[in-house]
């Protein structure tokens, strides 16, 4: 180990590694946590963000190559396997790992380091893995024309019983190699080359136009850099007792505390992510593999408790053995986040202010929870249009901008127009709801009302006729009207009432948010 911590380029994924997101990236940090928990994690190492920064600043590949060689040497010693000896040897995944989440922007390359396979003798799934590698590597790492690669793939590969035949994999490799030569791109001459080129590609993905724009938008420091995780492959396509899955520690749609997700028998993880194959739900898998499910559920609970966020876990089963490959904060619906936040407080894993913050990060709107109205039972609908959202509000119906500004002083006003344009902005800002006779879900009125957070119904039909405002029935200036932006319905009269069926967790979050504000004041 070098003395200068800034020159720490290699860290093994092991219980004694630092849980340092800035150094290892999010993905490897979660792997370190899993090893501490004793969870089954394939052995691997991390090329740290320090290595990235040295590479970016010094433009010197040799430093990285040396670090990579050292990491691979250690990994070969730990596993007792050698790179380039086929599927019985060491095969790795090369994954990005930035300190901040950058969804879908960074590269991952699987099945790296197999090298060309013999014409016979290797296990059937190895040819499958090699073919997948060739396609992905040629596309992502070498940057060859994806459509062309796909068409070669379709023409060349013949499959027998779900496995590709060795001869067609050899042909595929030869064809892709020619494509690379035609494009003037170097083809990897050894399994070590494959790993080096994949790692280089992962690091370059930090600098992609898309990744840069994302960081600029989120004001994320470009200097953070990415780590590269090199990890022994486990094969979801190995045999009938293999597969890959994604599990959530709570239902991401409703927040219910149960392990849910998907499992693709005989498949590798990227097939689930890409949507190319149709997986089964986790309940079905549970029936087939109750013990593995129970272990996964247990690890999920531990991970959620450690990370204090609902977790999304990637896992693989290789010949009946469970491996965890990644765990990260799950994307949740607002409902799910609100429920999870409240239940975490009840379980004592989060404080109330943290719960409010967690729900807000997932889009929970405290203000909307505070003023949830509904339409009283028995109100007769007078007209219907397209629902833009925003809840329910009632007020006096007004069709002129000047009258809106005048009447809004003394109570809620509903602004109605044939359609709106920028000149109606002030009137809309002063209104409690907006109705238009023409226009669709992306019209000016719809976009502005959503921005203002007020109920809006568009495309109701009707017309303005002197004093009359015809909206299903006749209204005149100042008549009371109720607008249900969620249902797209209008009711003559004031029928808005406080909704007593607001979910209990919303009321709790509201109460906690208000007590935060009071103690902050």
């Amino acid at each position: 180990m070098t003395a200068d911590p800034d020159r720490q380029f290699i860290v093994d994924i092991a219980p004694d590694a630092p849980q340092d997101r800035a150094l290892l990236g999010g993905k490897a940090t979660s792997l370190v946590l899993m090893t501490k928990m004793g969870a089954p994690v394939p052995p691997g190492f991390v090329l740290t963000t320090n290595a990235y920064r040295a590479w970016a600043a010094e433009g010197d590949r040799s430093v990285i190559d040396a670090a990579l060689d050292e990491g691979l040497e250690r990994l070969q010693n730990r596993t007792g396997l050698q790179i380039g000896t086929g599927v019985g040897g060491l095969v790795v995944s090369v994954r990005s790992g930035s300190p901040v989440s950058m969804p879908g922007m960074m590269e991952t390359v699987l099945n790296v380091g197999l090298g060309p396979l013999p014409a016979s003798g290797a296990e059937a799934f190895a040819y499958d893995a090699r073919a997948r590698f060739l396609l992905h590597f040629s596309d992502v790492v070498l940057g060859l024309n994806g459509a062309k690669l796909d068409s070669i793939w379709q023409e060349t590969l013949s499959r027998d019983g779900g496995h590709v035949d060795p001869q067609s994999v050899a042909e595929l490799e030869a064809s892709f190699r020619r494509e690379a030569a035609d494009a003037g791109v170097a083809w990897p001459e050894s399994p070590d080359d494959e790993i080096r080129m994949a790692a280089n590609s992962v690091m370059l993905s930090w600098e992609s136009k898309r990744a840069k724009l994302y960081r600029k938008m989120r004001k994320i420091d470009d200097g953070l850099g990415t780590a590269v995780t090199v990890q022994q492959m486990v094969f979801g396509n190995h045999d009938p007792r293999s597969g890959s899955g994604v599990a959530f520690t709570r239902d991401p749609n409703n927040g219910k505390l149960e392990l849910v997700g998907e499992f693709l028998a005989g498949g590798q993880g990227e097939e689930i992510v890409s949507g190319r194959a149709t997986p089964q739900d986790l309940e079905t898998w549970r029936a087939a593999e109750p013990e593995l499910f129970a272990r996964l559920d247990d690890y999920g609970k531990q991970l959620e408790s450690e990370e204090q966020t609902v977790q999304e876990i990637e896992f693989t089963v290789d010949a009946g053995a469970l491996y965890l490959l990644q765990s990260r904060a799950a994307k949740l619906t607002i409902r799910a986040a609100a429920r999870a936040a409240v239940e975490m407080v009840e379980a004592g894993t989060r404080t109330k202010p943290e719960a409010v913050q967690y729900a807000a990060e997932h889009g929970f709107d405290i203000g909307a929870a505070a003023s949830r109205f509904r339409v009283a039972a028995g109100a007769a609908e007078s007209a219907r249009g397209l629902a833009v959202g925003g809840g329910v509000a009632a007020g006096r119906l007004v069709a002129s901008e000047a009258r809106v500004l005048e009447l809004a002083e003394s109570g809620p006003v509903v602004f109605v127009a044939e359609e709106t344009s920028p000149k109606h902005l002030q009137a809309m800002q002063a209104s409690s709801a907006v109705v238009t006779m023409r226009g669709g879900a992306t019209s000016h009125a719809a976009v502005v009302a959503r921005e203002l957070g007020i109920p809006c119904v568009v495309g109701v039909g009707g017309h303005l006729d002197g004093e009359r405002i015809v909206l299903g029935q006749d209204f005149v200036d100042g008549d009371l009207i109720t607008v249900d932006g969620d249902a797209g319905a209008l009711y003559a009269g004031d029928h808005a009432e406080l909704d007593p069926s607001v979910p209990a967790e919303d009321l709790l979050l509201l109460e906690w948010a208000q007590s935060n504000d009071r103690s902050a004041a």
Partner: protein
């Protein structure tokens, strides 16, 4: 033309008309480069702007309409048709993106937001081609390229209100001013959706 207005006065008259009422004069509607207070005083003296707020008088609206009518009578029917038709797909796209942005916002979905920003950038190239092509006969419309481009740049830099925000000169706001301008030039109604 009933009277002579400077190009800056014409520009402010348009902006006030499109905005209905001008709130805080300043850079909110792409007017940072002109002396709004002085121009308002001139337009008020000519009776085009109300005394108590920055909105056009009926006379001001009539004057503006006359200028539009006279200034753009020179456009041939073919030019009008092409200007109108070539704008339509761009307008559909900006609306789709604005709506997608709000959906992403509601879910706090950063990947979705990124896709919208990328879409707006793409659309901005489309706008530049439109202004240099079908809309080239009305050279001054190029001011919207600068205005919308400035909003895009702010949004890309993390000032997310500049996508559809109503309190700043957002992409959506500036786009709708352009749309309004085109409708007046072409004497068209908005397309039904």
């Amino acid at each position: 033309m009933p009277e002579t207005l400077t190009s800056q006065q014409f520009r402010l008259l348009r902006t006030i008309s499109f905005a209905g009422v001008l709130g805080e004069p300043g850079d909110a509607l792409g007017l940072a480069d002109c002396d709004v207070a002085a121009l308002v005083a001139e337009l008020r003296a000519a009776g085009h702007v109300e005394e108590d707020l920055i909105a056009l008088t009926d006379g001001g609206e009539a004057t503006l309409q006359t200028i539009f009518d006279e200034e753009y009578a020179r456009l041939a029917d073919d030019q009008r048709r092409v200007m109108h038709e070539a704008f339509r797909p761009l307008d559909v796209e900006v609306k789709r993106l604005a709506s997608a942005w709000q959906d992403s916002d509601a879910r706090n979905d950063w990947e979705g937001r990124l896709e919208v920003i990328e879409g707006l950038e793409e659309l901005h190239h489309g706008l530049a081609s439109y202004l240099a092509g079908p809309a080239a006969p009305v050279e001054r419309l190029d001011e919207y390229r600068r205005r919308i481009g400035a909003a895009l740049e702010r949004a890309q830099s993390g000032e997310l209100d500049f996508v559809v925000g109503v309190s700043v000169d957002s992409y959506h706001t500036a786009w709708f001013h352009l749309h309004e301008d085109l409708l007046r030039i072409l004497k068209e109604q908005r397309d039904p959706e």
